[in-house]
Amino acid sequence: MQDRNPLLTLFYVLVVIFLFFPILIVVPISFSSGRFLSFPPEEFGLRWYINYFSDPVWMAATFRSLRVALGASILATFVGTLSVIGLGRKRSKTSGALTALFVAPAIVPNIIVALGVFILAVRMGVSDNELTLVCAHAAIGLPFVVLMVGSAYRQIDPTLERAARIMGAGPLRAFLTATLPPLTPAILSAGIFAFFVSFDELIISLFLMSSAETLPMRIWNDLRFEINPTIAAVSVFFVVVTTLAMTIAELLRRRAEKNNAA
């Protein structure tokens, strides 16, 4: 076993605390049975979880966010994967410029995207509409799909598709046989990523939606008017779901890497 520098270990522990403290502090609060957000809580109970799951406003926001995130993720994954295939394997000036364009929403501040989408939506009369939000969220999820699926696509041997063709498969069948299966893990994990890009997005939602709240909007609005530990319960729920999904995405990615290495 290698000798470890104790200072390095201490540094490591501090970094982990720094990263996780804000997430973990809400856990005890969510289990408090007091009426206010306070830390540390004096009594424990499931009161705020019950409150969250029984409040129709919270539930409506949660399901709306899940719906929008699912739609945005499917749209971003579909469009993103087709873009990757359209861009092709070889880098050229055009494909470089187009990639930059697809990736732009990840670099441009969300508030600017929000402003643009808002003006456009109002002009077209489609603001305060879930479908518009799905499209806007798909746009900001797209860069992750293009980058993740793109890097997986370039690792797939292009002769696989040629082999399928010469053995009698048409172009679509060759793609489905040779390219799609090794690409699937990357597509799924990009989809999960795009899902959460949408699920926790606040700014665009605030600009675009008014009557129909998403979950982050509900949390935001709740915090502005009253402070109670429901938010902590929601946050813990949020963290658990996110962690689970990200773990699945990471496992898929690793499996894909293992397969490609073979």
Binding site: D157, T159, L160, R162, A163, A164, R165, I166, M167, G168, A169, G170, R173, A174, T177, A178, P181, P182, N259, N260, A262
Partner: protein, 352 residues
């Protein structure tokens, strides 16, 4: 099964400014094993890709049998192909990989199973049907690729540098196996390689490509013994090449050797003599041979064979390869050596 005739007729291919094939003509008899041999960039893979349908000829036409192939998609050409990097589907088992071309041809299920089994047995991989390609060695993967390429009994089989990813021993094993399979199924094979040994050992005929053109196409033995140009003589095996004076009345001078030799080809400008065709002469009985002298400059001992570098009076050097049997008196480094060759062993070379 019977192989098809394959015919390239005045095929040219250019990529923008770059010309990959010019006036490429090649006629392959049914069941023949023809190798395209050339350095990278000589156009050999371009020719193969045009036949496979991955690339269109700029002009000219390719036929299998009597069927012109321009505009025919790869999946409708009924051609088998083995790729350099195997190109097995990693998520399919060995049996599923081999079954793929049959499934594309919509065969009956038990018929497919039977033929997959037969193909895998032919490459001695019957026990590996349920494995994924990742669980196989390089040689086994290439065998699967071979089984997959021939399982639907294509009349034409293409092989694109398909052994170059393997180490020497495996390569030799697979060369034998490919020859055996070729004999068994009788398909026409177009094999592409840059490895001259592979080409010499496997082919019925070898086409040497240079700059998008076939410079010579002949049986391996003819190609080795009678190269027609400096390029071919140099590309295949080792060769000593000497300029000739103009050929008059069937005779030409070899200035570097200081002798005259009979030359059959009046257009020859040089000769090529393989190192093993030169004989070391102790000094007697040289009738009918062309004899000349030099000084041994260097020698390399290979066991049964000794290779010597000899410097001629003109300063030119040549290579001699001698069997050691019966040559106990081989001159050593620094000594004068008398060499002779049968003029019939000197291949006349024409200018390109």
């Amino acid at each position: 099964m019977q192989g098809s005739r394959v015919h390239f007729e005045k095929v040219t291919k250019s990529f923008g400014e770059t010309v990959a094939l010019t006036d490429f003509n090649l006629d392959i008899a049914p069941g023949e094993f023809v190798t395209l041999l050339g350095a990278s960039g000589s156009g050999k893979s371009t020719a193969l890709n045009i036949l496979a349908g991955f690339s269109d000829a700029t002009s000219g036409e390719v036929y299998t049998g009597d069927r012109p192939l321009t505009g025919v998609a790869p999946e409708h050409r009924n051609v088998g192909m083995v790729f350099q990097n195997f190109a097995l589907f990693p998520h399919k088992t060995v049996a599923e990989n081999v079954a793929f071309p049959l499934r594309m041809r919509k065969g009956a299920r038990d018929e497919i199973d039977r033929r997959v089994k037969a193909a895998l047995e032919m490459v001695q991989l019957g026990a590996f049907a349920a494995r994924k390609p990742a669980a196989l060695s390089g040689g086994q993967r290439q065998r699967v690729a071979l089984a997959r390429a021939v399982v639907f009994e294509p009349p034409v089989l293409l092989m694109d540098e398909c052994l170059s990813a393997l180490d020497l021993k495996l390569r030799e094993e697979l060369q034998d196996e490919i020859r055996r399979i070729h004999r068994e199924i009788g398909t026409t094979v177009l094999f592409v390689t840059h490895d001259q040994t592979e080409a010499l050992t496997m082919s019925d005929r070898i086409a040497i490509l240079e700059g998008g053109k076939i410079v010579q196409i002949d049986a391996p033995e003819v190609l080795y013994d009678r190269p027609r140009t400096r390029f071919v003589a140099d590309f295949i095996g080792q060769s000593n090449m000497f300029d000739l004076s103009a050929v008059t009345d069937g005779t030409a001078a070899v200035p570097d050797m200081g002798i005259d030799i009979p030359v059959s080809d009046p257009t020859a400008v040089a000769i090529s003599i393989r190192p093993e065709r030169l004989r070391v002469i102790p000094g007697e009985n040289t009738s009918g041979l062309s004899v000349f002298q030099g000084v041994v400059e260097d020698e390399t001992f290979f066991g049964p064979v000794v290779a010597q570098t000899v410097r001629l009076r003109s300063g030119r050097r040549l290579e001699v390869r001698s069997q050691r049997s019966g040559h106990d008196r081989l001159p050593h480094t620094g000594q004068t050596i008398t060499l002779a060759f049968d003029p019939a062993d000197a291949a006349p070379l024409v200018a390109t």
